[in-house]
């Protein structure tokens, strides 16, 4: 290996943001023509490191070598010139532009647009043939699916002659079928001699596609190993710094009476789009119903109706009694009185007020609780604070300080605060949306355990998640939503990611093989207008 220079070599990179050291003396060698994974928890410093490589940040110390040559990368322009292309987690595309215009933007050949567009159109055809990256150059970005948008990002990098491609959490927004397609493209790019850096927190992806993997923890590079020589358990331990249970540990469910029954539910949102179409299901006590689906297929609206902030038609029975879906008692307050607790999908906007302290957040939604009132005029703040302190300790919120603002906790600890507030109310039905989005592995384990514990106490749980691992691991039954409908229900032990993936794309005939193109066409047709971004 010593003869060929590494495609990228970083030596002693350090970067601080005020008192926080995001990268500490990081050195890494990425060999050309390989796929190199970088894995680590949120806040481990992966993105900072890549931002330094792409010229977004300037390192405090350290050197960058590209193909053996020392290179300064003060801005994105220099990174592009050095042959580095980056596919960001949140795509950097102009939604009202065509694919072609997005590819050309910033890489035009002259003052006039037309020659650049003509040239780029030819080039796209070549790239499509060479790497199997088929995209309609005249399609508007807002009209194509997420998988396709990601391909546009890759095309943008290739059009700028990138030899080194950095992908930041590329599968976060993809269905399993789309992720497989992406991995095929990456394998093809590797064959053609491109070097790929894959940043992810998903162990399965690392094992599946990378040649080498580097693990980061708290700003430091803790290990670099050949993927073939390691295993997920070892990587997880390197990431977290202790042994982690990767599988959800649970006993079979012991369902009791029906707690919630939903019949013929329909939701039309304020923009007039029919979001939930004739949905019916029931959940019994001691049971978790998992709802899988690509984001924006009606799951969010379902949670919102049950949680009391979206109107609907149809019928919902809680413990045999109908709840009000449109009138004066269709609000969150009334829902809580009926024993429904809600951990919303968008924790930072709907679950917490980020600029309020933890104890204030702990009272929200339950601020009418007579226990919290000192007298008819004043609330008993001291009592809420003390109670919050105890709950934070029981839910292992770090640090367990009720006076800190919600925004000063990490994602995982914010989620624990919301969970503590809702679970400790001992609800009959717990609604949980994306319980572990943006949450570290260590905290995921804890959150999953608490949800299972609540189930074992005989409560009903409705889980909505875009993470199939989570759905498969936690649920006792799985319903898949597509375009507002439930496409089918499966038992976790009798299904797999592939079958669920097809159902998520609206294909109910899961026995025969389906091409990726077919799945994509289905997904592009799903839903009406795009929903607000979460």
């Amino acid at each position: 290996m010593s003869e060929t220079a590494p495609a990228i070599e970083l030596k002693g990179i350090s970067k601080s943001f005020g008192p926080v050291q995001a990268n500490k003396d990081i050195s890494i060698r990425v060999m050309p023509g390989t796929i190199h994974g970088i894995i680590g928890e949120n806040g481990a410093g992966k993105s900072t490191l890549m931002s330094i490589l792409y010229g977004f940040y300037k390192a405090d110390a350290g050197e960058i070598f590209i193909n053996g040559k020392k290179t300064e990368i003060p801005d994105s322009q220099s990174a592009i010139a050095a042959g580095i292309g980056m596919v960001f987690q949140h795509f950097k595309l102009v939604k009202v532009f065509t694919v072609l215009e997005n590819v050309v933007l910033g890489a035009e050949d002259g003052e006039m647009l037309t020659p650049s567009l003509v040239k780029a159109r030819d080039e796209l055809t070549n790239l499509a043939q060479e790497y199997g990256l088929n995209v309609d150059p005249d399609a508007l970005i807002e009209e194509i699916g997420v998988g396709m948008q990601q391909r546009v990002e890759i095309l943008k990098a290739l059009y700028r002659q990138a030899d080194i491609l950095i992908l930041d959490e590329p599968t976060g927004v993809l269905t399993p079928a789309e992720a497989d397609q992406l991995f095929r493209i990456l394998a093809r790019l590797k064959e053609e001699g491109k070097t790929i850096i894959l940043i992810t927190h998903k162990l399965r992806e690392i094992m599946e596609i990378t040649d080498t993997v580097s693990v980061m923890r708290r700003g430091e590079m803790t290990a670099t190993v050949k993927t073939a020589d390691t295993n997920p358990a070892e990587l997880a331990e390197l990431m977290v710094g202790r042994k982690v249970l990767l599988r959800v540990d649970k006993t079979p469910a012991k369902p009791r009476e029906t707690v919630v029954e939903v019949r013929g539910l329909n939701v039309t949102d304020s923009a007039g789009v029919h979001r939930v179409k004739d949905v019916s299901f029931e959940i019994r006590g001691g049971e978790i119903l998992g709802i899988a689906g690509v984001a924006g297929n009606g799951q969010s609206e379902l949670l919102e109706v049950l949680g009391g902030y979206e109107k609907a038609t149809g019928e919902i029975l809680i413990n045999g009694q109908a709840i009000d879906l449109t009138g004066a008692h269709s609000d969150g307050q009334s829902r809580r009185k009926r024993g429904i607790a809600h951990v919303p999908e968008d924790r930072q906007n709907e679950g917490l007020i980020m600029d309020f302290q933890a104890w204030e957040n702990m009272a929200f939604g339950y601020h009418h609780d007579p226990n919290y009132q000192k007298n008819p005029l004043l609330m008993d703040n001291r009592k809420i604070r003390d109670e919050t302190q105890a709950k934070m300790e029981r839910f292992d919120v770090r640090p367990p300080n009720p006076d800190l603002m919600a925004k000063s906790f990490s994602g995982g600890n914010q989620q624990k605060i919301v969970l503590a507030r809702e679970i400790e109310r001992n609800p009959d039905l717990l609604l949980v949306g994306q319980p572990t989005r943006g949450v570290d592995i260590g905290a995921i384990e804890f959150i999953h355990q608490r949800i299972i514990e609540l189930r074992d106490e005989g409560k009903a749980i409705l889980l909505v998640s875009v993470e199939l691992d989570e759905i498969l691991g936690l649920s006792d039954r799985i319903a898949v939503m597509f375009d507002g409908r439930i496409m089918g229900e499966r038992l976790p032990e009798e299904t797999d990611e592939k079958e669920l993936g097809l159902l998520m794309a609206g294909i109910t005939d899961t026995k025969t093989d389906h091409s990726v193109a077919e799945v994509e066409a289905q997904l592009a047709n799903a839903g009406g207008a795009p929903r607000k971004e979460v």
Binding site: S47, T48, S51, Y54, F56, D75, S76, Q77, A79, I80, M86, F88, K92, L93, V94, K95, V96, F97, E101, N102, V104, L105, G106, A107, E108, G110, E111, M112, L113, T114, S116, K156
Partner: protein, 322 residues
């Protein structure tokens, strides 16, 4: 209403639309780049004053025009520094500039000329004169086409032609050049421009530069072409009307021309036909026709006419993020 009267109404419409159109196109550049420009009014006002004062002092309307454009440009750059570099609130910065222009023009004007904020009346070469297009007189008597050419198309001040010729030019810049592509992108998703290696700050300043220059022409037109000198608050809300026209036009240049002509027509009607007699039944008072442009502005800004989709990133300062 006979045909000639109809032509004269349209002729007046063109003249009155010009200032709106220039301001509207100015706003288009700023807003397409993602910067809200509520300060069109102030930029026009300061330019109108400076143009009139310099034209009076030098006796050259062209000097006046250049000075007006420079004054407006300085205001645009102040807005740029506040909202692009310091990421201040764009509305507040714009409103502050409007107040500044409103106060400054009167104070300086009164100090210089002692006429209650007015500049002395401009005459001769200190004012723009009409351009008579070739054959305008010869063709005058040709039926239909004659009056259209010689009354409607010929015989305007140069800046009228500048404004209307600017429309296809702006369209071309916006949709056929590299600058236009980047400009539209920076207003929709600045991070896409940034990651493509193009400076967001640079693009936005370039946009404001054009905004400043066009607003300068608009203001100079007002005091040296439409009127003969500067009068206190002479923009009379035209900056806001231009902004309404921009929204009505959904930030597109050709539509902007249509919207400005509509506003110009309303103003022309109220000037030419103060009291409209409706079949001898009752008379629509002049006060009503004069308020029409403002009523239309309220209706448009209230969102009653269709749904306008502004550039996606408008009003948001750009902060680099991972």
């Amino acid at each position: 209403m006979d045909f000639l009267q109809f032509i004269l109404t349209l002729d007046s419409t063109l003249r009155l639309s010009t200032v709106l159109l220039l301001a509207c196109l100015a706003g288009l550049f700023s807003e397409r780049s993602g910067i809200v420009d509520i300060g069109l009014e102030g930029k026009m006002l300061i330019s109108a004053f400076v143009a009139a004062a310099i034209a009076y002092e030098t006796g050259s309307v062209w000097m006046g025009l250049a000075a007006g454009m420079l004054a407006s440009l300085i205001f645009a750059m102040i807005h740029g520094v506040a909202s692009i570099i310091y990421r201040g609130d764009q509305i507040i910065s714009g409103v502050a500039l409007n107040f500044l222009a409103s106060g400054l023009t009167v104070v300086v004007g009164d100090a210089l000329y002692r006429q209650g904020g007015q500049t002395p009346t401009l005459a001769g070469s200190a004012r723009f004169s009409e351009i008579t297009l070739p054959f305008a007189d010869a063709l005058r008597d040709v039926p239909i086409l004659g009056p259209i050419y010689s009354e409607l198309i010929s015989g305007h001040k140069p800046l009228v032609y500048v404004a209307f010729l600017a429309v296809p030019l702006v369209w071309w810049v916006l949709f056929r050049t590299r600058f236009g592509l980047r400009l539209r992108a920076v207003g929709e998703n600045p991070s896409s421009v940034d990651t493509a290696g193009v400076s967001v700050v640079g693009m936005r300043f370039k946009a404001l530069l054009i905004t400043g220059l066009l607003c300068g022409i608009a203001g100079a037109y007002l005091s040296t072409s439409q009127a003969a000198g500067f009068g206190k608050e002479m923009t009379a809300g035209r900056g806001y009307i231009a902004l309404a026209a921009l929204i009505f036009a959904k930030w597109r240049p050709l539509h902007a021309m249509g919207a400005c002509l509509l506003f110009g027509l309303l103003e022309a009607v109220s000037n030419l036909y103060p009291n409209i007699d409706v079949f001898g039944l009752f008379t629509i008072p002049v006060q009503f026709t004069q308020t029409l442009p403002y009523i239309l502005t309220v209706i448009i800004l209230g969102g009653f006419i269709g749904r306008a989709m502004p550039p996606n990133a408008i009003g948001q300062p750009y902060v680099k993020e991972r």
